[in-house]
Every structure is written in structure tokens, then in C-alpha cells.
Symmetry: C2
Subunit: 422 residues, 2 copies
């Protein structure tokens, strides 16, 4: 049997077990699921030495293979990371259980009482890169929302992930839940990822987390719906008459607070009437923080330090201290620029004008549209969802940050007294 077939057989077994477990999880009580989450939180702390030993094996191999310091940092299970995983699980345990919620109920003329009830999606395939803490975060969110999960982590983290998987299994077992509710695929083989992406009869949704390369690989090869975003090309538009001090604060926060993430600003659009006053102000604040500015000709006429922007800069996700800057004639041109180059992720307007705030909110087709606030707020925790499993910039199922509720769907329930259809 070829390696590819072996991977398929193994993944099929895992998915069959996950499917069976998902039926038990779907009707498990909130108390039982929370017990498993708290068990796991405690086990992470109790077993920290063993976890760090397993992690050290990954770190040593990764260092030998020449992994960068930044990547090694992401791979490390320090005491701080372990404590943070445990804390995250406790927070998820404290959140309301979305499963079983009846979101509406209405009576039909024939007396039927019709409602919609939240149910788990079923089995989730979760494919991610090097950070092993994602194993625990994802398992916790899937468990709380009543979903079974099959996890495929990065090859650099296999020892860490298997050690974590052992703790997850024990925590589930001790709470009387099936251990197949959260399984790590025990191989680094890409054939295993491909096999998982083909299990359309057993897996209900795929959630990838990682760089654009991973997301594109998953989307191109999946026969299962994928919830994902490729990139965040986020815009701030500074409107005519905006509060320019507020605009500077928002731009500095959106660009500099954490430039390597998907909700950071990548392009600044400025109304032509404010350009002369605003651009030197914001440029000074950004240049002071080491931001490279790439401007349109009008921008460069006002900011000597800006280098010329080229066409490739407008759709670019720099993920770095680089900002594209463009002067526009007004709101229409700003919205057209966003429609053409944006990624439907997060866009903000800074304005004092009521009508234009409403036009921006209604007309911009992005998962989070903000007035007078930083794009950095596109985050499940910041927006009040409690926890976040990822951000979706395709419109099916959920648009924007996804919390526990977005890991569920709704079925119709009907209470009758013998009604038949006429």
C-alpha cells in the first residue's frame, strides 16, 4: 500500500471516529463540556514539565534545520504560553453554550409551532501552521460548541501537538466524553492534509489558519466548504472635515500597534481637501515610528519622504511598517478604491459628517465597517464575541470574526398536533 493510501486510511479512521463522537457531543450537557475544558486547563498546568520536554524536541529539530528566531518563538511552549492556554480554556468554559438555543419560534395559521434551534456543525477539520497553542485553543472552542474536531498541525510542532493531544484525550475521558471528539492527525505528511480535505461525507467544514500559502493550498484542494480569509488589505479613509487629531491617532494605531496582523491598515485614503493639513501631520507621526510611506503623486507633493507607490502597492498586504497612501477626490472615489483593491476585511472612515458615515457603513462591502475607530478592532474578543476561531472574508455562513455561535447552525423544529399538509 502506498504512503498516500496509508494516509487516506488513517485519516478516514479518524474522521469516522470523529463523526461518531460528534453525535454524542451534540447532546452533551454544558456542564459536561465545561468539565472537560476545566480538566484540560488544570492538566496543562500540572503537566507543564512534560509538555515543555516534548516541545524541546521540536525546538531542537527546528533550530537544527535553521528556523528563524521569530519562528522558533512562535513554536515555543513557555510557562507563559501554557498559562495563557489554560486561562483561555477557563474563559471559554465561562461563555454561554450556544447549542440548544432556540432563536425564534412562531405559530402558523394551522397551529404548527415552528422554531429554529442551534446545533453544532458536526465535524470540523482544522489545519494550521506552527503555533502549538492553536491545538488547545481550537479544541476548546470546538468542544464548547459541541463539534468534534480533527486537527492537522504544522510538521515543526508534531511532538508538542501529540503531547497536547494526550492531555485533551484524558480531559475528555475524565468528563465522560468520547476521546475522538478532538484528535490530532499523528503525521507530518501533506498527504494526510489532502486526505482530510476529501472527506466530504464525514467533515462538515474546514478552517485553515496560517499564511496565505496554506490558505490557498487548502482552498484549492478541498471538497469541503472552507471558512477563511486570504489576507487583510484594510483601509482608513480620512474624510473632508474630519477631526485630524483623531485621524492621526486612528492611523497610528491601525498601522503601528501590531503591523504583522490581518486587521492592520495597509492603505490610507485622504480627501483632497484635507491632504495639505493632514498628510504632513500623519506622516510625521508614522515616520517617527519607522513606517515607510508609498504615496501617489499628490501625496509625494506634500510628503517629501514618501516613495512613489506603484500599482502593486494598492492590493498589497504588507504585514510590516509600510503604508500605501492615496489622495482621493471624495467618498465615492474612496469607496471605489476599496471595492477594487480591498479584501472585504476591515475598513474605517474618520468623519464628522452624518450622511457620509451612513453611506460608508451601508456601501462598503467588508466584514467589519467602522466609523471613527481603528481597523484593529476586527477581532472576536474586541467586538464582544467572547472568543474567536478565525475571521471569514467569504460571505457564506459567517462574515467577519467567528466565535462560538459561528461554529453552529440552526435546524427547524416543529411542534404539531397531528397536522397534515393540505
Amino acid at each position: 500500500m502506498s504512503a498516500e493510501h496509508l494516509a487516506q486510511e488513517m485519516v478516514r479512521e479518524l474522521c469516522l471516529a470523529a463523526k461518531a463522537a460528534s453525535r454524542q457531543l451534540a447532546v452533551a450537557s454544558s456542564a459536561q463540556k465545561n468539565l472537560a475544558l476545566l480538566n484540560l486547563a488544570q492538566a496543562l498546568l500540572d503537566q507543564a514539565p512534560a509538555l515543555k520536554a516534548a516541545n524541546q524536541a521540536d525546538l531542537t529539530a527546528a533550530a537544527d534545520s535553521g528556523m528563524s528566531a521569530a519562528m522558533l518563538d512562535r513554536l515555543t511552549l513557555s510557562d507563559g504560553v501554557i498559562a495563557s492556554m489554560a486561562q483561555g480554556l477557563r474563559e471559554v468554559a465561562a461563555l454561554p453554550d450556544p447549542v440548544g438555543e432556540v432563536t425564534g419560534m412562531w405559530r402558523r395559521p394551522n397551529g404548527l409551532l415552528v422554531g429554529r434551534q442551534r446545533i453544532p456543525l458536526g465535524v470540523i477539520g482544522f489545519i494550521y501552521e506552527s503555533r502549538p497553542n492553536v491545538t488547545v485553543d481550537a479544541a476548546g472552542l470546538c468542544l464548547k460548541s459541541g463539534n468534534a474536531v480533527v486537527l492537522k498541525g504544522g510538521k515543526e510542532a508534531l511532538n508538542s501537538n501529540l503531547a497536547l493531544a494526550g492531555l485533551v484525550a484524558s480531559a475528555l475521558k475524565d468528563a465522560g466524553l468520547p476521546t475522538a471528539a478532538a484528535q490530532v492527525i499523528p503525521t507530518v505528511d501533506r498527504a494526510a492534509s489532502l486526505a482530510l480535505l476529501q472527506e466530504e461525507d464525514l467533515v462538515d467544514v474546514i478552517i485553515p489558519r496560517g499564511g496565505e500559502g496554506l490558505i490557498r493550498f487548502v482552498t484549492a484542494n478541498s471538497r469541503i466548504p472552507v471558512l477563511k480569509h486570504y489576507k487583510g488589505v484594510c483601509h482608513v479613509y480620512v474624510d473632508q472635515g474630519a477631526d485630524l487629531d483623531m485621524a492621526v491617532d486612528i492611523c497610528v494605531n491601525a498601522k503601528c500597534q501590531r503591523p504583522g496582523v490581518c486587521n492592520a491598515m495597509e492603505t490610507l485614503l485622504v480627501h483632497q481637501d484635507e491632504a495639505a493639513a493632514f498628510l504632513p501631520l500623519v506622516a510625521a507621526a508614522l515616520l517617527e515610528r519607522g513606517v515607510e510611506l508609498r504615496g501617489c503623486p499628490a501625496t509625494r507633493a506634500l510628503v517629501a519622504q514618501a516613495v512613489p507607490a506603484v500599482e502593486e502597492d494598492w492590493p498589497a498586504e504588507f504585514l510590516d511598517l509600510i503604508l500605501a497612501v492615496r489622495v482621493v477626490a471624495g467618498l465615492d472615489e474612496a469607496m471605489e478604491h476599496i471595492a477594487r483593491y480591498g479584501s472585504a476585511h476591515s475598513e474605517a472612515i474618520v468623519t464628522r459628517d452624518y450622511a457620509r458615515a451612513r453611506r460608508f457603513i451601508n456601501g462598503v462591502d467588508s466584514s467589519v465597517v467602522l466609523v471613527n475607530a481603528s481597523t484593529r478592532f476586527n477581532d472576536g474578543g474586541q467586538l464582544g464575541l467572547g472568543a474567536e476561531i478565525g475571521i471569514n472574508t467569504s460571505k457564506l455562513h459567517a462574515f467577519g470574526p467567528m466565535g462560538l455561535t459561528e461554529l453552529t447552525t440552526q435546524k427547524f423544529i416543529v411542534h404539531g398536533d397531528g397536522q397534515v399538509r393540505q
Copy 2:
């Protein structure tokens, strides 16, 4: 240039125009959209002679090619069908507009006001078989929900569909809306369907309507998410202690009222304690209506007319006056049978027992779960959604019948006063 490339070019042009139109539709007023719907309703009635002439060309070609009488009937645009299309459009115009609804809004500790606002999905690809009235029904629902639609109908209905598309375009234009909001692909070529299924950057969702072969073709070839159901293998379970007269009424309705549709019952499960009393009763009622019974051994011991059920009968969608019948030990065995052989479509329990009604509602993983009512109620109109574009038995996005609301998604909107992230 090959025929395949020509189809790709043509479909690409249509999709680009649809994408542009979708931005206008997303912010169109309800009044403007309703005007287009009412314009179209009137035009269908006014232009009935021309429509029937175009339809006659399809009918003549279809008859020459040996199409069955039943299929010819589905292809026919009679005065009755035209009146019914017009009436359907008026009903859709009268429904509430889902676009713009803010489904919730909450304040964060930092003063941000966060809400979710309904928006259209964008561009919908609709692929269907021979009934030309679907062209108008689908265009109407997509328009009302603010979506552009690209329609690909069956080859037998091309002349009818193009005539209808002309009326749709005029109705849009007269209401000041872009004609590209609803376009019919003007070819019968399967390459055009394949091309449409590849336009993942322009088309947000594909909805197929037709037989299982069409649905499988679409799902196998689409790079875009598909909302669909393959088949409806619907069950009725008659519980211990059930009202047997009610159970007979529900079974006769679920099987016989319209046996060729997806929400008709295909398998009857009966508690062993009721089998001796119930099976002869229900068998008499069903046999009288010409139903062929395929039973398990316990069923056959009680119903002499039942032929033996084989393994292939349990997952079968007969779409005909045929019923598989099985005696089960109790609710657990019934639910296991449904989980194993069902299609997540519609399942009903007939019971007097409160606890078992609750267990069935919570434990059965189908899009519509009913207590003491016929499976035939799985229908958007019957459940109170107002109108229906189809039924989805995959769990992503929407589960069960889909109305106007299910043709939308929600974005996050954020009102701030200069907030930045800490």
C-alpha cells in the same frame, strides 16, 4: 479560439457585469426593487402571447426529440403558469426586505457600539433544469434580497428562458436598476455551466435546482460554495403509545399527498409494541392508495402484501408510491436508523410521550425535525419563510428551507468616537 474558451469569455463578461450590478443592487431601496418586481409581473401578463410563442418553439423541438409527456408538461408556459409566476412576484414584492436589517447592537466597555447588519451575498449562480418558470422565481427572490444572479437553465427551455430574460431586463431598466442584475446565459453549452462554476472571484454562491445528477455534477465541478440537497430520504417514526389514527393520517399524507417530492416519507419506522396494531391499519390505508410496501421480516409477518425490503431500500429516495417499513425496538434504534440511512432532510416522530418527543427533537440531526406533523411541511412557505429558493441539507450557511433571509449574510458595523486598540 475553442468553444470552451468562448464559453469562458462569455461567462466571464456576464459575471463581471453581475458583480458591478450587485454593488448597485446592494444599496437599492426596497421601493425600487419592488417596482422592478411589479413591472415584471405586469409584463409577464401583457406579453403572454409572445412568451407562449417562444415556449412553443421549445415544446416543438422537445416533442420532436421524444420528450415524455410529463417532461413536456413541466416545460410548458401555459396561461396558468404565467399567472402563477406573476402572482409569485407580487407576493415577493409584499415580503419584508431583509437587506439593511440590524439584527443586534451592543455596547463595548470602551464605548464602541457594535452591530450586525444584513447585506446581500453578492452574485448568485443559479443552475437548473427544464422548468422555465424557475427563471422568474429565482430572479425575483435574488432581486428582492439585493443579489445579482446569473441563470443557467436547461437546454430544452432556452427560447423560453431568453424571452423571459428580455422581460426581466426591461423591468429592471424601467425601475432604474442595472439590467445585469439578472442575466440568462444565452447558450445550452455545458461548458458555460463549467465556466460559471469556476468564477470564484466573482460569484459568491451556487444554487443548483434539479435532479440528483445535476446536483452532483455541480458539486463535483464547483470552486464556489454550493447550497444544495442531493435527496430527501425522510422518515416517520411511530412511537410506543402513539395516537394510531393520527399516525395513519400523517403517514398517508407524508407518503401519498405528493410522492414525487423531496419531503415525502420514504421509510416508516414503527415501535415493536405498536406494530401488531398499527401496521395492518396503515398498510390498509396505503395499499388502498396504491403504495408498494417493502418490509423487514417483522413487518412482513404482519402485512402479507409487503414484499421483502433489501438493504438498498433503506437509503433509497423512491420519489414514487413505494415505502420501506421497519419495526424497531424503540426510539434509540429509530434514531440510529435515521442517522445511518437518512439524508438530514425531514424526520417526524408521532408520540404522546413528552421525554421522547424532546429526545427526538434534540437528537435527530436533520434540517427539519417534527413532532406529530407530516414531513411534507419542510417547505419555506409552509414554515412561514414567505418564499423559498431551495432546501439545503449541508449545514454551512443555512440548514433546511431557504427564504429571502438566507440569501443574505451579516457584516459587523462599528460606531466609534475615536477609539483605538490598547
